[in-house]
């Protein structure tokens, strides 16, 4: 790459990295490496964000993410996590219907937040 292209890509960099060619060239190379890596990471990060949102949405209705997805799989509902997370945010009634479908298909742990009863000497703690 010639210098003009390097400086074009180095816009917004900190300090000398946007003005001095030797430093800019290094930083631009690194930036391109990061963007290559992160195009692949972005897909993972997005999916993990969808899962976190779905988890929060289902826990409002007393079901956790794992049991919810298992119920959907049992009912052969093939909605992907992107759409499920958008449903949980923007279409709460439809999402509740989905949670109910999943719950009838797979009841899972009845009380998600109950604790095992302490027995014997553990009661004293």
């Amino acid at each position: 790459m010639n210098k003009k292209e390097v400086f074009k890509l180095a816009k917004g960099f900190r300090g000398r990295a946007k003005n001095c060619i030797r430093i800019a060239r290094e930083r631009v190379e690194k930036a391109l490496q990061y963007s290559y890596r992160d195009r692949r990471n972005k897909k993972r990060d997005m999916r993990s964000l969808w899962i976190e949102r779905i988890n929060a949405g289902t826990r409002v209705h007393g079901v956790n993410y794992g049991n919810f997805m298992h119920g959907l799989v049992k009912e052969n509902i093939q909605l992907n996590r992107k759409v499920l997370s958008e449903l949980s945010m923007h279409e709460p009634y439809s999402f509740k219907a989905l949670v109910d479908v999943s719950r009838t298909a797979f009841p899972g742990n009845k009380n998600m937040t109950s604790a095992p009863k302490k027995e014997g000497l553990a009661i004293l703690v």
Binding site: R53, A56, H90, P92
Partner: protein, 195 residues
Amino acid sequence: MAMATATSSSAMMTHLTTCLQFSSGSQQCLRSIASERADVWNKTWYPKAEDHVNTEKTWYVVDAADKILGRLASTIAIHIRGKNLATYTPSVDMGAFVIVVNAEKVAVSGKKRTQKLYRRHSGRPGGMKVETFDQLQQRIPERIVEHAVRGMLPKGRLGRDLFTHLKVYTGPDHPHQAQKPIDLPIRDKRITKQT
């Protein structure tokens, strides 16, 4: 098995009908998708500035008397961070404010009252200061709950901002009546000290 298909009518209409009526937990009104041009189903939603205005966030109040410290701190941290909301975003403060009262009465199990140590270091050699739970509770009782919650919030710029949304007070009163705080919903069944 037939399931309710999500309506694909314009985002604005469905948003407005569900937004005002659905009142479970703290479902927030998503202003940013009210415009006709929002592509709700192909682009993952990211909050705009009007979706996380501090003045419109929920305020919760919780009484710490006889609650187990760690379990209480965990619930508080979840609500401050916003992880209980479907609109959770890791890079944005979508959480609520939490007020803790009666902080001096928070409980711990076992022998932690005399054995749990709180350490701090002044930065100089030999400058480690250690005190027990009991001593700290005599000195500065709010710090116990604050220390616990701070350890459960993310560490970083956003985490430090989130920490400012926690308000801890000794005694049963707090100066935030104007924010009309509601009771923090606690789902942990072991959070009250078994006596």
